[in-house]
Subunit: 233 residues, 2 copies
Amino acid sequence: MTTANIQPPKIGQMIGSVMPMGLETDQTANAKPSPPLIARNPALRHFAPNASIYREGDMADRYYKLVSGTVRDSRHISHGRRQVTEFHGSGDIFGFYNGSRISSADAIGPVSLLVCRWHGPHETDMGMHPSTNEILTQLIRHVERLQQHAVLLGRRSAVEKLAIFLSQQASRMGTTDWVLLGMNRLDIADYLGLTVESVSRAFSSLERQDLIEIISAREIKLKNPAALMRFDT
Amino acid sequence: MTTANIQPPKIGQMIGSVMPMGLETDQTANAKPSPPLIARNPALRHFAPNASIYREGDMADRYYKLVSGTVRDSRHISHGRRQVTEFHGSGDIFGFYNGSRISSADAIGPVSLLVCRWHGPHETDMGMHPSTNEILTQLIRHVERLQQHAVLLGRRSAVEKLAIFLSQQASRMGTTDWVLLGMNRLDIADYLGLTVESVSRAFSSLERQDLIEIISAREIKLKNPAALMRFDT
DNA sequence: CGTCTGCTTGAGGGCCTTCAAAAACCGTGG
DNA sequence: CCACGGTTTTTGAAGGCCCTCAAGCAGACG
């Protein structure tokens, strides 16, 4: 079974005393009676699968540096729909907003990250752990990714969207011919602006064209990476 | 082919004498045959309609602060199509990339902007004209706008997309009940991930619903701003 | 073994795209 | 002032793709 190497997130194996299913808002509030919320220095924290890291409307008084796991950044839109704006991976710094947040961040699978206090650009100066240079670089990378995402969303065809998405996921994990997806079909659908069904059909279509092989739902072999990349022209 | 008939902006079109009336001429550019392109301090420059400010693949060795006019930021994709990722307005700072640029910037209409030299985050320190604080704020705003754009692109309906777009354009120019569009239908279409025809039909649909009044193609009266905003729920 | 969740597949309808053409707009020149 | 050519915008008709609703299937877990 190739699926053996995939570890579906298990709720029980979380470090610390984190509650399951993330029905509550913020871990930090519940983990301990009243922990020192954020020290002057970044604090390492752990989140259970589906736990909420921050929500739309919250004040943006801290930012985050992802150590391990995948974080979904999304906005709710009408009729229960939602738009996933970005997937964050290890090393990414995120959570900057001018004023209050306009999107929510949630853990997909177990997540570890550094929490840093921040009250605005004026507070971003020397001596902080992620340096101003690193923050600038990350913000710029952020912008680049979001522009790339706009290109994805503007595409007409569902198959094109998925092909490019898979290429990007592969290159992001440093490989060229296979991908281990950190998110489910619904997350992908909301990221690509499609429905779950359309995403599933796109997967099947790519497999029929012999461009990929669906080893399991989460593990994809790219049988023709060049052809997949070519959708991005 | 919708976007096939776009003429790629011509690089030679930097302003000297081509400025339409009503705009101050560029003294510095006319004073010397080949002015020092970028000084240590920001240099004010003028661009003619459709002039290119930077292109995909260029090294990102400078950034820009827009003084007046509208700038279109776009990426070329396959089959002559393109995706507009953002419209920049007065005061916006743009053009940051890690390494080489992944999108092009073009002037829509006459544009004046400050050009600032920049070779990476390490060079962004005190004493620059746009301060590090301002740059951080602008980058964050950039991210917020791009996230908002993703929400727009993810929308199912063309009418929804246009309604939200018009609301945003209005609030961006500080008004609530009318908009003067700085771009044509094709630009809007490529921004919203639609065709010109669909955009035009969406305009007509909104007018039939009595939500807007098309005074001229570029000048729109919002007859029911609240209803338009409600599409953004 | 049965339930639950997530993924896939099928059929029908709606919306956008495509192709085509008319209408409105604009600067130019008679 | 009006006529004229090119561009931009609008409108129409037909087709394709995605969405919706619905059911079947597979994997995980007790």
